[in-house]
C-alpha cells in the first residue's frame, strides 16, 4: 500500500468541502441526533422518576449494547460505502452456538467465545472477498450469506432455546466505580473508534468510501479494504451475539434479523452517510440510544409496544431523507 495518510486525508477533506457550509452539513445530522435524544430523555424523564440516575444509565446502556456493537460494525461498512445485511445471520448463528456449546466451565466458554468471534471475522472477511472477486454488490453478497448463516443457525438450533451458565448471565450487572460493564464497553467502543479512525486502515477505509476510484488510483488495494471492512463488521456482529446471550440467556435462530435495519438506522440517525466516507461512531451510539429509548418511551406512554418498530422506521426514513437531501445539496455545490 503506497498511499500515505496525508494523501488519503486530503481526499477526505476535499470531499467534505472546506467552506463553512460543508462544515455545517457534515455536523448538522449529529447535532440533530443529540437534540432528538435530549427531547426523548426529557419526555421520558417527565413520565418516569429516576431517569437522571446512574442506575438508569446502566440499564439503558445494557439494553442498547447489542445494537451498539452491531452498529459499530455497520458504521465501518457504511463508511466504506457498503452495507452488511449478513449480520442478521451472524448474530443468530452466534447466539445458537453459544447457547448450545457453553458449559459451566469458564475454559469451555472462553474457547467457544473465541471460536464465535473468529467465525464472525472469517465470514465477514469472506463477504469482503466475494464482493471484490466476483465484482458483486455488497447487499447481494451479504443477503445471500445472511440466508446461509441463518439457515446454519436453524440447523444447529431449530427453535429458540439452549442455555448459558448463570455467571455468564450476570455479566451486564458487574459494576466498577458505579458504572456497569456495558457502560465501560460503551467507553471502550469510543476509545476504539478514537484510535481506529486515525490508524492507516481506518483512514484507508474512509478514503475508499469517499471516492473508490481515487483511492484505487492512489494505490489502495480495494480487495484488502473490503476484506478488512466486512471482517470487522462480522467480528462486531459476533461480539453483539455474545453480548446478546448475556442478556437473553438463550439462543435464537431468527433474532439476528431484528438488528439489521436498526444497526443501519442507528448509524444513519447519528449522521453516518449512506454514501460512504462520512460519519462518527459517537453518532451511531447516540442513534442506538435513541432507538432503545423509544422502546422505553412507548412503555411509559402506555401505548402498544408494537408501535416501537413503526416509530423507529419513521425516524429512520426521516433521517435518511434529510441526509439524502443534504447529500444532493452538497453534490450540487460540488458540481
Amino acid at each position: 500500500m503506497s498511499v500515505t495518510i496525508e494523501q488519503a486525508q486530503a481526499g477526505i477533506e476535499s470531499r467534505s468541502g472546506a467552506d463553512w457550509r460543508g462544515w455545517v452539513l457534515d455536523r448538522a445530522p449529529f447535532v440533530v441526533a443529540c437534540i432528538m435524544l435530549a427531547v426523548i430523555i426529557a419526555i421520558y424523564g417527565s413520565y418516569q422518576s429516576g431517569v437522571f440516575t446512574l442506575d438508569e444509565l446502566n440499564l439503558d446502556t445494557a439494553a442498547a449494547m447489542t445494537l451498539m456493537l452491531a452498529g459499530t460494525g455497520q458504521t465501518i461498512v457504511l463508511m466504506r460505502g457498503g452495507i452488511d445485511l449478513s449480520i442478521g445471520g451472524m448474530i443468530s448463528l452466534g447466539t445458537v452456538i453459544a447457547a448450545t456449546r457453553f458449559t459451566d466451565d469458564p475454559g469451555t466458554v472462553l474457547l467457544w467465545s473465541s471460536a464465535i468471534l473468529a467465525l464472525g471475522l472469517g465470514i465477514g472477511a469472506l463477504n469482503g472477498l466475494l464482493i471484490s472477486l466476483l465484482k458483486l454488490q455488497p447487499f447481494l453478497v451479504t443477503l445471500a450469506t445472511w440466508s446461509i448463516l441463518g439457515g446454519v443457525a436453524m440447523i444447529i438450533l431449530p427453535t429458540d432455546g439452549g442455555s448459558v451458565p448463570g455467571w455468564w448471565l450476570g455479566f451486564g450487572y458487574l459494576e466498577l466505580l458505579g458504572l456497569s460493564s456495558p457502560v465501560w464497553m460503551l467507553l471502550g467502543l469510543l476509545l476504539f473508534w478514537w484510535w481506529f479512525r486515525s490508524t492507516r486502515i481506518g483512514i484507508t477505509i474512509q478514503a475508499t468510501g469517499s471516492n473508490e476510484k481515487s483511492a484505487f488510483l492512489s494505490g489502495v488495494s480495494i480487495t484488502r479494504v473490503n476484506v478488512l471492512t466486512y471482517g470487522l463488521s462480522g467480528l462486531f456482529a459476533a461480539g453483539a451475539a455474545l453480548y446478546l446471550t448475556t442478556q437473553t440467556g438463550a439462543g435464537s435462530p431468527t433474532i439476528g434479523k431484528d438488528y439489521i435495519l436498526p444497526s443501519v438506522a442507528a448509524a444513519v440517525i447519528g449522521g453516518v452517510s449512506l454514501f460512504g466516507g462520512r460519519g462518527h461512531l459517537a453518532g451511531t451510539l447516540i442513534g442506538a440510544f435513541i432507538l432503545t429509548l423509544i422502546g422505553n418511551l412507548v412503555f411509559v406512554l402506555k401505548v402498544s409496544s408494537y408501535w416501537q418498530p413503526v416509530a423507529s422506521g419513521v425516524i429512520l426514513l426521516l433521517s435518511v431523507l434529510a441526509s439524502s437531501i443534504a447529500e444532493k445539496a452538497a453534490r450540487g455545490r460540488g458540481a
Binding site: F139, G151, M154, I155, V264, Y306, Q308, G313, L316, L317
Partner: protein, 325 residues
C-alpha cells in the same frame, strides 16, 4: 437463431437447470413426477412467481424491493379481517388491498427516485413499518379464515388445471408484453443499464422507477391474498420466506442484479427451480434451515455466473463453442 440463443443464454440455462433438477428429484423420490405432485409444485411455484414478477421489474430497473414480505402479509391479514370469511366484501376489499400495495410501492419508488434514498434502506424501512402497523392492528392474534372465493382461486381447479396456474400464466403474458413490446419495457432496460444515459436519452427515469415499485407492491399484495386461500387463513410471518425466494427466483432467471437485463420468463423458471428444490429437501431428509442455506447458495452462485467477473469467461467459452459448431 444463434443470436437468439446467445441473448437468452441465462434464461435457457435456467430452464435446462429446471429439467435437470426434475430428473434428479424423480430419481430420489419416484412419486415426484405424478400428476398431483407436479400440480402442487406448480401451485407453490405460482406464489413465488407472482411475488417475483414485481421483483423482476424492480431488479431490471436497477433496484431491489425488500418490502415484499410485509406488503404480502399486510394484504393477507387486512383482507382476512375485512372479509371475515365472506365472499361479497371481496368486491371492494380486493381492489382496496391492491391499491394499498400499489401505494406502498409508490412511496418506495418516490423515496428512491425523487429523494435518492438507497432502495435497500427505503424498502427495508417500509417493511419494518408495515410489520409494526400490522402487529398494532391485530395485537399479534391470528385472523379469521379466508373467503371461499379466495380458496377457490388459490387451490381450486378448472378442468384439472389449478386456477392459480392460469392466473400466473395470464400475469406472465402481461409481464412479457410489458417487457418486450411496450415503451415502458424499453425505458426499463435503458434505465437499468445506465440511469445517466437513460436520463439524457429522454427516458422518464423517475416515473419508470416509481412504476416498477408500484408493480412490485401490486404483485406482493395479490400474492398475499391468494396465499391466504392456500393456507386457509392469514398469519403473521407468512411473507417472510418470500424475501429470499423472490430475489433468488429473479437471480436464477438470469436478471443481472445490477439491472438492465433479464426477463420475467427467466424468473418463471427460477420460481419453478426453487419450488422443486423445496420439494427435494424433505426427500433428502433436510430441514428448513438447510433450505435457507440452499437459497443463499443459489443466490450467490447464480448471481456470480451473471456477474462481470464471469461474464467475460462465459461469453468467450460460448463464442468458441458456437464457432466450433
Amino acid at each position: 437463431m444463434r443470436a437468439f440463443l446467445a441473448r437468452n443464454r441465462l434464461i435457457l440455462l435456467a430452464y435446462l437447470g429446471m429439467l435437470l433438477l426434475l430428473l434428479i428429484t424423480a430419481l430420489f423420490s419416484p412419486g415426484f413426477l405424478s400428476a398431483s405432485n407436479l400440480r402442487s409444485t406448480v401451485v407453490l411455484a405460482a406464489f413465488v412467481g407472482i411475488v417475483a414478477l414485481g421483483q423482476t421489474f424492480v431488479i431490471i430497473g436497477g433496484g431491489i424491493d425488500l418490502s415484499v414480505p410485509w406488503v404480502l402479509n399486510s394484504a393477507a391479514v387486512v383482507m382476512a379481517l375485512l372479509c371475515a370469511g365472506q365472499n361479497m366484501p371481496l368486491l371492494w376489499v380486493a381492489p382496496l388491498m391492491l391499491a394499498g400495495g400499489a401505494l406502498v410501492g409508490f412511496i418506495n419508488g418516490l423515496g428512491v427516485a425523487q429523494f435518492g434514498v438507497p432502495p435497500i434502506i427505503m424498502t427495508l424501512a417500509a417493511n419494518v413499518i408495515l410489520q409494526g402497523l400490522i402487529l398494532v392492528l391485530t395485537g399479534g392474534s391470528p385472523s379469521p379464515t379466508a373467503p371461499d372465493l379466495i380458496k377457490f382461486l388459490s387451490v381450486g381447479r378448472v378442468g384439472g388445471i389449478p386456477v392459480i396456474a392460469l392466473i400466473w400464466l395470464a400475469l406472465a403474458l402481461v409481464a412479457t408484453v410489458l417487457l418486450s413490446k411496450a415503451a415502458f419495457g424499453r425505458h426499463l432496460y435503458a434505465l437499468g443499464s445506465s440511469p445517466t444515459v437513460a436520463e439524457f436519452s429522454g427516458v422518464p427515469t423517475a416515473r419508470t422507477t416509481v412504476l416498477t415499485y408500484v408493480i412490485s407492491g401490486l404483485t406482493a399484495s395479490l400474492a398475499g391474498m391468494l396465499l391466504t386461500g392456500y393456507s386457509g387463513q392469514a398469519y403473521l410471518g407468512m411473507g417472510d420466506s418470500y424475501l429470499f425466494t423472490s430475489v433468488a427466483a429473479v437471480a436464477i432467471g438470469g436478471a443481472s442484479i445490477l439491472g438492465g437485463s433479464g426477463h420475467y420468463l427467466g424468473t418463471v423458471a427460477g420460481a419453478l427451480v426453487l419450488t422443486i428444490l423445496t420439494g427435494l429437501l424433505p426427500a433428502l431428509n433436510l430441514s428448513s434451515g438447510a433450505l435457507l442455506v440452499v437459497y443463499g447458495a443459489v443466490i450467490l452462485v447464480t448471481v456470480s455466473i451473471g456477474s462481470e467477473a464471469f461474464a467475460g469467461l462465459g461469453s468467450s467459452l460460448w463464442n468458441r463453442k458456437s464457432r466450433e459448431a
